[in-house]
């Protein structure tokens, strides 16, 4: 195997092992030795890639910070109404958080003090984007009269956070939990036309 490829594999093994440990035990409580044990990587090889545990955590936070804008961009480019975009985007985000421990650990760490002040927290983006989508959906008549689009945006985002926290430790996972939230929420907030169009698709 070429040396560069081997180095990439080693780095990946470290990142995945760290994500699994951080996800289970928490960043602060995870000793470097646990990451080395889980990844099967020597201390020397670790320090070739990362100067310290903190640098590794930052790599995870940066990795999630790169992935969310892509997901959001992909959904916003689709030719869908704003409510369908909000629904599809958060459902996919929940599935990804369930399946991908690197993304889940990085997202959890984005609110940790090591990420503070680095502009890597994607939470404000989610909230702004959801508020915008739900306001547009409301203006286009996709929400029932009297439904506050901002409240729907906050409820949906809190549901994603709750699904991530609970779904990482017990069945059902975050994906199913987010789907359930939308199914239940949409019955009360979406206009009958939007709901019947959705069923027809």
């Amino acid at each position: 195997m070429p040396q560069q490829r081997r180095a990439q594999l080693t780095r990946h093994a470290i990142v995945v092992a760290a994500a699994e440990e951080f996800d289970r035990t928490g960043y602060d409580a995870t000793p470097l030795s646990a990451i080395l044990r889980r990844s099967g990587v020597t201390k020397g090889a670790f320090y070739f890639h990362f100067a310290a545990k903190e640098e590794l955590a930052l790599a995870l936070v940066e990795s999630q910070a790169r992935r969310w804008p892509k997901l959001r961009g992909d959904w916003l480019r689709r030719e869908l109404d704003p409510l369908s975009i909000a629904v599809g985007m958060l459902s996919e985000a929940a599935r990804l958080l369930e399946e991908d421990v690197v993304l889940r650990a990085g997202t959890g760490l984005a609110r940790h003090r090591i990420a503070e002040g680095r502009g890597l927290d994607s939470e404000p983006d989610w909230e702004t984007l959801l508020l915008d989508l739900l306001r547009r959906a409301s203006a286009d008549g996709m929400l029932r009269p009297g439904v506050d689009p901002e409240a729907v945006a906050r409820v949906a985002y809190a549901a994603l956070v709750g699904a991530r926290v609970l779904g990482s430790r017990r069945e059902p996972g975050a994906g199913v939990r987010m789907e359930e939230t939308w199914r239940i929420t949409l019955q009360g907030v979406a206009s009958p036309e939007w709901l019947s169009n959705r069923k027809a698709r």
Copy 2:
């Protein structure tokens, strides 16, 4: 001031300061020195009350573990239908989590490894209790036909968790977030009769 009363006040000051630090910075990342600084208590006085930071965290976890059963018991004894009990109970829980940093920090720590295996995690109770209430509500015709009571229970509990996590750092707080969730969710899942009875009260 009698000596015993002074000791109680000192202990309370330590507990509140620790809760504030754990809530903001996380248990593992909080040094004992930060708790001493915030509480204005000397090291000697601290060690009179607690053998170590871990014992203090356990006191917080035990404190929340004592409070939730009381809240649940109070609500279950009320002469209300099961859906009203679920709604009122989770709304009050969210308000308490918003207002009381000792309760919030202890609840957050209940899933920390220091609490593991001590039977202090109240999450299984919440889930079992909500499942039971929603199943009874469904059997009594308080949910719309086709609505899965277990999904409603899971969504409501994930909403409480999401409201606690998000509401501790930004407006609106957990109480308002949980109210919003119920307002939006109930429109889609509660029977028209239950909703109109509720409005009439």
